[in-house]
């Protein structure tokens, strides 16, 4: 028996899919506030663009707001809370921010 070729065609008019977003970080939680990366830091209300992640040159990531608080509280040269290396923002972050400007209405 041949599986007969169907005379029916399915035309998709609209496919409304669901996805969740995630920061592609190595850890699940921020080492400083211990909150989920995909959530937001304790100071923020909304996750995502409102409370972005930031990577250091050492490849450790934190909520931007958390690491800034730490960096600003240090009188001497700040270090990475995880590895104690001197804290430097990872260069490609600049690029990412460039993209962010494209999407309107976010701080």
């Amino acid at each position: 028996m041949f599986p007969s070729r169907s005379k029916m065609k399915v035309k998709i008019l609209n496919w409304h899919a669901v996805a969740s977003w995630t920061w592609d970080a190595q850890d699940e939680t921020c080492g400083i506030c211990r909150m989920a990366f995909d959530g937001c830091c304790p100071d923020c209300k909304y996750p995502g663009d409102d409370c972005p992640l930031i990577w250091g040159a050492c490849n450790h990531s934190f909520h931007l707001h958390c690491i800034l608080k730490w960096v600003n509280s240090q009188t001497s040269q700040p270090h990475c809370p995880m590895c104690r290396r001197e804290w430097q923002f990872k260069a490609w972050e600049q690029r990412r921010r460039g993209f962010q400007l494209e999407t309107p209405g976010q701080c």
């Binding site: 080492g31 400083i32 506030c33 211990r34 909150m35 830091c41 304790p42 100071d43 958390c66 608080k69 730490w70 509280s73 270090h79 809370p81 995880m82 104690r84």
Partner: protein, 161 residues
């Protein structure tokens, strides 16, 4: 009294509160070996029982750590001291103050109560002699007015112990 020597305390910030609750839950789920958190309803001051590790000078001895958290924890280090009687140790003063860099200059917000405890236990475990620091009397005398160890300018004796 050492217990009253806590710095004038401001209530925990929201961030600190959040963070400590997380730590407490984590502690309950996965407490560091040799430590027991004494449950109280005070989130800002933890009292932790330390059991000396087997095979060390402090085996079968129990001490109590008192951890006080500042308003801006974890951006600032907690104040950690031993309650009386403090263990005899070259880096632990008789008033309970501990000479350990991570509690002061080398604090990092990624550290937790649990990781601090482990550092303290390892400091105890690596001791080869049960003795007070050489400058114990002078230091303790200086601290009589209830000075916090965090106000001390520490120079750290050596990295090994």
């Amino acid at each position: 009294m050492t217990s009253s020597s806590a710095p004038s305390r401001k209530a925990l910030s929201k961030i600190a509160c959040n963070r400590l609750q997380k730590e407490l839950v984590e502690w309950q789920v996965n407490p560091p070996a040799g430590f027991k958190h004494k449950v109280s309803d005070n989130l800002q001051r933890w009292v932790i029982e330390v059991n000396g590790a087997q095979g060390t000078l402090y085996a079968n001895e129990t001490y109590q750590l008192q951890v006080d958290f500042p308003e801006h924890y974890p951006m600032e280090a907690p104040q950690v001291i031993f309650l009386n009687p403090a263990p005899l140790h070259p880096h632990i003063y008789s008033n309970g103050h501990i000479c350990l860099d991570i509690l002061y200059d080398s604090w990092s917000p990624a550290m937790t109560v649990s990781s601090v405890c482990i550092s303290i236990l390892s400091m105890l475990s690596s001791s080869t002699a049960k003795q007070r620091p050489a400058d114990n009397d002078r230091y303790v005398k200086n601290c009589r007015n209830g000075r916090s160890p965090k106000e001390t300018r520490w120079w750290f004796h050596d990295d090994k112990v």
